[in-house]
C-alpha cells in the first residue's frame, strides 16, 4: 500500500463534502437575506426572534450546532407526525445552513446600514419605490460593502464543514480518519497534508470568485486610487 492510493479514496468523499457546502451556501444565503430584511425593517416580535436566531448561530460553537441539528431534527420531524428520515448528511446540511445564514446576516446587516442615508433620501425624493431603491441603488452599494465579509464567511463555512464527521457524515475529513484507522495510521501526516491541500484549494476558489466580483464593483474605483499611497508606504517601511 503506497501513499498515493489514499488520494482517490479521499477525493471520492469530495462530492458529498461539496454537496453539503453548496447546500449550506445557498440556503444559508436565502436565510440571511430573509433574516436581514426582517431585522432592518424592525417588525415587532419577529425581529426579536430573528435576533435571537442570529445570536445563536454566531455564538454557539458550530460542533454544538451540528449536534443540536442531529438530535433536534428527528424530534421535530416526529412532532409533525412523520417518520424519522433524517440522515447525518441532512442534519449536517440543515445545521450548517442555519449557522451560515445567521453568520451571514451579520455581514449583510452592517453592509446595508453602511449605505449612506442620503442615498435613500435621493432615491425616495425621485419617487423610487422601496423595491426599485433596493435593486438599483442601495442593494448594489450594500453588496460592495458586504463582499469582503462574505468572502470570509464562505471560508469559515468551508472550515466548519470539516466538523460534520462528529455527527457521522462521510465528508473528506471523516473519510481521512477511516483510511488512517484502516491503514494502521502509517500515513497520518501525509493524509492530513493532502486534506490541507484540498481545503486550501476550496478556499482559494471561493476567494477568487469573491475577488472577481469585488473587482467588478463600480464602487471599486475610490479604493483603487486611495490604496496606492498606502501600498507605497508599506513598501517604504520594509
Amino acid at each position: 500500500m503506497d501513499v498515493s492510493a489514499m488520494i482517490p479514496e479521499l477525493l471520492s468523499a469530495l462530492p458529498l463534502t461539496l454537496a453539503i457546502t453548496f447546500t449550506a451556501l445557498i440556503s444559508g444565503f436565502c436565510l440571511a437575506l430573509i433574516a436581514t430584511t426582517l431585522r432592518v425593517r424592525r417588525v415587532p416580535l419577529i425581529s426579536h426572534l430573528v435576533d435571537l436566531y442570529v445570536s445563536y448561530a454566531r455564538s454557539v460553537p458550530v460542533v454544538l450546532q451540528l449536534f443540536v441539528a442531529f438530535y433536534g431534527l428527528p424530534l421535530l420531524v416526529i412532532l409533525f407526525g412523520a417518520k424519522d428520515f433524517i440522515s447525518a448528511t441532512m442534519a449536517a446540511m440543515v445545521g450548517l445552513s442555519l449557522y451560515h445564514g445567521g453568520y451571514l446576516s451579520e455581514v449583510m446587516r452592517p453592509a446595508y446600514l453602511a449605505v449612506d442615508r442620503g442615498q435613500h433620501d435621493a432615491a425616495d425624493s425621485l419617487g423610487y419605490t422601496f423595491r426599485q431603491k433596493i435593486s438599483r441603488v442601495v442593494g448594489p452599494q450594500a453588496v460592495h460593502f458586504a463582499l469582503p465579509g462574505y468572502g470570509n464567511s464562505i471560508i469559515y463555512l468551508i472550515h466548519n464543514v470539516a466538523l460534520v464527521m462528529y455527527i457521522g457524515a462521510a465528508d473528506v475529513m471523516a473519510t481521512a480518519h477511516l483510511i488512517m484507522e484502516r491503514d494502521y495510521n502509517q500515513f497520518q501526516f501525509e493524509t492530513y497534508l493532502v486534506l490541507a491541500v484540498i481545503y486550501s484549494l476550496m478556499c482559494l476558489v471561493a476567494w477568487l470568485i469573491v475577488r472577481f466580483f469585488e473587482l467588478r464593483s463600480p464602487m471599486q474605483a475610490p479604493e483603487a486610487t486611495t490604496t496606492t499611497p498606502i501600498k507605497n508606504e508599506l513598501l517604504a517601511s520594509v
Binding site: D116, G118, Q119, D121, A122, A123, D124, S125, L126, G127, Y128, Q132, R136, V137, P140, Q141, H144, S217, P218, M219, A221, P222, T225
Partner: protein, 246 residues
C-alpha cells in the same frame, strides 16, 4: 401652487418645526435663510415627505394632504413633481454621471433608454459635465458631484426644484461653478426653493426671501424688504453676522 399650513415636526422631544406657513407661487424663486439648526432642511424635506411632520397640511396644485393622514398616492404624486438637490450631493455612488441622470427617467418615468439618454445628455451639457459622463462619483470633485445632482433633478422635469444648501459642502473655489448653474436654472422660470447661506447670491436671484428662525417663518418678503429693512432685531442680527462672515 405650493402651500404649507401649520406644519409641525419634532424629533423625539425637540420640536423642530413649530407651525410653519409657507406659500409659493408658480415661477417664484424663494430663498430660505436662517441660523443653522432652525429647521430649513427639515422644512424642504417635509415637502417631499422625506421628513414626516406630525401635523399640518400641504397643498401642491390639486394634490392635498393632511400630514396626520399621509397617504402613499399623494406622497408619490408630489415626489414625481418635485426634485431635490442635496447639501451632501447624494449622487448614486454605484452609477456613472450619465447613469445617475438617466436612472430616474428609466426606472420611475419608464422612458426608453434612448429617450432617457437623450434627455440626460442635454442636461449634462447644460451643467457642463458632458466630458465626465462616464465617470463614477468617486472620480469627481464636489462641484462636479453637485452639478450631477442638479442635472439629475432637472432631467425629471420637476414643477418645483428644492435646493438644500447646494454649495455649503464645497471647497470655496468650487462654489462659483455651482452657483452659476443654479442661477441659470432659476432664471429659466422653474419654481425654486433655495436654502442658502450665500446672502448676496440669494438677494440677486430671488424674488422672495423667507427668514426661518426657531422653527417658524419669522420674516417673509422681497429681497429689498428683508435685506434693506429687516423687520426684527433677530433678523438684523442674523444678516449682520452672515455678511460679516462673508
Amino acid at each position: 401652487m405650493l402651500e404649507l399650513k401649520d406644519v409641525k415636526l419634532s424629533y423625539g422631544s425637540t420640536q423642530v418645526l413649530n407651525g410653519v406657513n409657507l406659500s409659493v407661487k408658480r415661477g417664484d424663486v424663494v430663498s430660505i435663510i436662517g441660523p443653522s439648526g432652525t429647521g430649513k432642511t427639515t422644512l424642504l424635506k417635509c415637502i417631499n415627505y422625506l421628513a414626516k411632520p406630525s401635523s399640518g397640511t400641504i397643498a401642491f396644485d390639486q394634490i392635498r394632504m393632511d400630514y396626520q393622514r399621509a397617504d402613499k398616492t399623494a406622497v408619490q404624486a408630489i415626489r414625481l413633481r418635485t426634485a431635490m438637490v442635496f447639501q451632501q450631493f447624494n449622487v448614486f455612488k454605484n452609477m456613472t454621471v450619465l447613469q445617475n441622470v438617466m436612472d430616474p427617467l428609466v426606472v420611475v418615468q419608464r422612458k426608453s433608454t434612448d429617450e432617457a439618454q437623450e434627455i440626460a445628455l442635454r442636461e449634462l451639457e447644460r451643467v457642463g459635465l458632458t466630458p465626465k459622463r462616464d465617470s463614477y462619483p468617486s472620480q469627481l470633485s464636489g462641484g462636479q458631484l453637485q452639478r450631477t445632482g442638479i442635472a439629475r433633478a432637472l432631467a425629471v422635469r420637476p414643477d418645483v426644484i428644492l435646493f438644500d444648501e447646494p454649495t455649503s459642502s464645497l471647497d470655496p473655489e468650487l462654489v462659483g461653478e455651482v452657483l452659476k448653474v443654479i442661477k441659470d436654472v432659476t432664471s429659466s422660470g422653474i419654481t425654486s426653493l433655495l436654502v442658502t447661506h450665500e446672502m448676496q447670491f440669494a438677494k440677486n436671484i430671488s424674488n422672495r426671501i423667507v427668514f426661518m428662525d426657531r422653527g417658524v417663518v419669522a420674516a417673509d418678503g422681497s429681497p429689498a424688504d428683508i435685506f434693506d429693512a429687516p423687520s426684527s432685531p433677530r433678523l438684523a442680527q442674523f444678516l449682520q453676522s452672515e455678511l460679516a462672515f462673508q
